[in-house]
């Protein structure tokens, strides 16, 4: 029993250990856990608190009381599902025992069954902790705020209990779905294939998580209380909001239906998660130690592509070395690619939201018209992808290994610093406009489609140049001080920039398309000038310094006027 307890604690600590995305930037793992749990707890708690005056006011408008309560329950269930999905995607690599676990524990006199049991128990404890942090505020505070004046006080406890259980079941459903997907993939795919698809799964979960939140207003609008809207059948949070309503004695066939969906969903997802997880453990244990780690092997297509990129884009050897280093780090470093997947997921969710909102108002014929709502799509994707890259570039990977860059530093200056820009162009500037070109060609004809593609590329390239102004590091090789910069300020700047770049510039483009011969030359000339200015500024920053940065210098908390000298 003592050994089982020790193993359980060992696995639990591993969730909070070094390299964990959620706690990585904190001063200590303990501080990281507290900070993360607080961050998860606050939104639901504060939102529930803000609802107190709303419900007090609704006492004078009783006909709005029930619809409002249904709407809020739907919101809290959406938050519960969305945040749980996001957290699970971040924790993806630690859901299952890894190679390190097996290497450390296998030589010890421990039964495999015991290791499995302790890992599973620690996993459940970990998930429960996060579910509690996400749901505890809405589970307790919201029922207090939304208790109907007509309800006897004695029913308060069952009301809280029912609401809390439905929220926790919502989180449990999402978590076990993710676990079942991981178990199924581990069973079905060879280890190397599994590693290759993991990033896409994480991206999909994050996209789904953000989409859920963004689609909530639409779902709430379409799923008014008691109505049997088709969206309710597939909008997972609605199942659990319905479950809560049904358990609280709200009449209506739709709630009985949603309750059934919720209970069946939870039973099925937990059953599948346990089945696949256990099967994967048995299979994985046998193969993980023996699997060759040929993750660096490239397919013939990748080799061909790399050779073309080297030949046409990277004539300088030093730049080529830096470029491939950045590329491989983005692909293989779990934390860096997770950041990228997160941003791409949000971009994807914004696009889905944009389209769903558009179609909820107009018919499909609206696609034939290059409206700002459609023109902004490549810009939304490129803005978030480029910003995510600029965000991850300063975060180091194996900092102590940067000696090789320091040792091989040369005097190429700005030429070697073109590598980060070229990676940004290949990942953030070109893909979205180029991949959407055939669709636009089909919808709007070749002239408008080509012009739109060119415009989107020009804007994104300008943004990439602007984002790299003052950046004097080889990505991932410089130390990073969390909180060393004004994060709130940057966040606000990014939000304003996003609005201007993605939406205002789409309106400008729509204006350009109204009279192409008259407006297009003027607009492209303006972008060209700004591009030249950004490029010049970037070069000036680089030329002014003698060497690249390997240690981040942060702004001092107190500035002096240096009057003594």
């Amino acid at each position: 029993m003592q050994i089982a307890k020790l193993l359980f604690l060992h696995f639990l600590r591993r969730f909070f250990g070094e390299g964990n995305m959620l706690f990585a930037t904190a001063a200590s793992p303990y501080a990281g856990v507290i900070r993360t749990l607080t961050m998860l707890l606050l939104p639901g708690f504060l939102l529930s608190m803000f609802l107190f005056p709303v419900y007090v006011e609704l006492e004078f408008r009783p006909h709005l009381f029930e619809p409002m309560r249904w709407n809020n329950k739907l919101l809290f269930c959406t938050m519960s599902a969305s945040i749980m999905a996001f957290v699970t995607a971040l924790q993806w690599d630690s859901l299952f025992p890894d190679r390190e676990d097996f290497m450390i524990l296998s030589p010890l006199p421990l039964r495999r069954r015991l290791i499995f049991f302790c890992k599973l128990t620690a996993l459940i404890a970990f998930a429960s902790l996060f579910a509690a942090a996400i749901n505890i505020g809405p589970a307790i505070v919201f029922p207090l705020a939304s208790l109907s004046p007509a309800t006897p006080f004695g029913q308060l406890v069952p009301y809280i209990w029912n609401h809390a259980v439905s929220l926790f079941l919502c989180s449990a459903f999402v978590f076990s779905c993710c676990l079942a997907v991981q178990g199924a993939l581990l069973n079905l795919l060879p280890h190397l294939w599994y590693r290759a698809v993991v990033v896409w799964i994480q991206f999909l979960i994050m996209a789904a998580s953000a989409t859920l939140l963004l689609l909530f207003p639409l779902a709430a609008k379409n799923a008014a209380l008691g109505q049997n809207a088709p969206l309710l059948h597939w909008f997972v949070p609605a199942w659990f909001a319905g479950l809560s309503e049904q358990w609280n004695g709200r009449p209506g066939p739709i709630f009985a239906f949603l309750e059934l969906r919720a209970i069946q969903g939870v039973e099925l997802s937990i059953g599948l998660a346990l089945l696949f997880y256990t099967a994967a453990y048995v299979r994985y244990l046998q193969t993980i130690i023996e699997t060759p780690h040929d993750d660096g092997a490239q397919s013939a297509l990748s080799r061909w592509l790399a050779a073309r990129i080297d030949r046409f884009l990277l004539p300088v050897q030093h730049e080529r070395g830096v470029f491939h280093f950045i590329w491989k780090t983005l692909l293989r470093s779990p934390s860096h690619r997770l950041y990228l997947a997160g941003y791409a997921g949000v971009a994807c969710a914004l696009v889905i939201w944009e389209l769903v909102t558009l179609f909820s108002i107009h018919s499909y014929a609206v696609l034939r018209e290059p409206s700002p709502a459609l023109l902004c799509i490549p810009s939304v994707i490129s803005f978030l992808t480029l910003c995510s890259m600029r965000f991850v570039f300063p975060r180091p990977v194996e900092l102590r290994a940067n000696w090789i860059f320091q040792l091989a530093e040369n005097d190429l200056g700005i030429r070697s610093m073109q590598a980060p820009l070229k990676v940004m162009i290949l990942i953030g500037v070109l893909p979205a406009p180029v991949l959407l070109l055939p669709v636009h060609w089909y919808l709007w004809g070749p002239a408008v489609a080509l012009l739109h593609t060119l415009y989107a590329i020009a804007l994104a390239w300008l943004l990439a140049e602007a984002l790299l102004i003052g950046f004097r590091k080889i990505p991932f090789t410089c130390s990073f001080v969390p909180g060393g910069h004004n994060s709130i300020g940057w966040l606000m700047l990014a939000a304003i920039g996003f609005g201007l770049y993605a939406y205002a510039m789409a309106s400008v483009e729509a204006w350009m398309l109204r009279d192409i011969p008259l407006h297009a030359p003027f607009l492209f000339a303006a972008i060209g000038l700004l591009w030249l200015l950004a490029r010049r500024l970037r070069a000036t920053f680089l030329d002014g310094e003698s060497s690249l940065e390997y240690d981040e210098s942060i702004e001092p908390a107190v500035r002096t006027l240096n009057l003594s000298s």
């Binding site: 060759p292 040929d294 660096g296 080297d310 050897q317 070395g321 491939h324 194996e398 102590r400 040369n410």
Partner: protein, 254 residues
Amino acid sequence: MLSVQHLTKRYSGIPAVNDVSFVIRPYEVLGYLGPNGSGKTTTVSMLTGLIAPTQGQILFQGQDIAKDRIGFKRRLGYVPEIPYIYPHLSGLEYLQLCGRLRGMPEHRMNEKINALLEAFGLHGSRHSLLSAYSKGMKQKILISAAILHDPDLLIFDEPLSGLDVTSALVFRHLVKALSQEGKTILYCSHVLEVVEKVCTHVMILRKGQVVAYDSVEGLRALANLPSLEDIFAQLVLQEDTEKIAHGLVSIMKA
């Protein structure tokens, strides 16, 4: 020729390396010895430009390396004591990164990398990530990276760490062959037997200060002792090692 003059490094006023001077000419191998914490790695870090000296000068071919650090680094090959390398790159990719950062032409670089991987028996695992390499395999990659660009000055800091017997023997011959090619070599190690066999000169450090510096034969004659191990024991060791070993066995049995 590498000439180090009065090299000193202080951390918060406490000297880690104090007034160290030596010269290594082409065809020479200087064995740099000392117990843990004696200042070997600090010296090496200053030589490679990873940290700046508090005092003193380092001259290579008569030029102060501080005046042309980049030119100096181009001619330097370095194997660090601890194999800090990028674990998400494969062995092949890491060597390609080093070659490209050194500005080597692509075709020649790839040929040399393949030949080095074959010679070190790593060709079969060239696509495996470095995180999956054993310590010895990582060491072979670091040695390959250090000699890939045919440098004039080589600094080996504990290069035998983790190497198997055959590879260690190969490496010993490699050092000799490199010195016969006219390379200037600084060799830091704890393995006195190897130092005795491959080095032309020896410097012994204790608490950041030089306690002996001469040719291997010169030291033997001076100390009137048969082996480098005995000289080292006399100059550096202050504890009764046999007594400590017996103490450890007693603890184990307790």
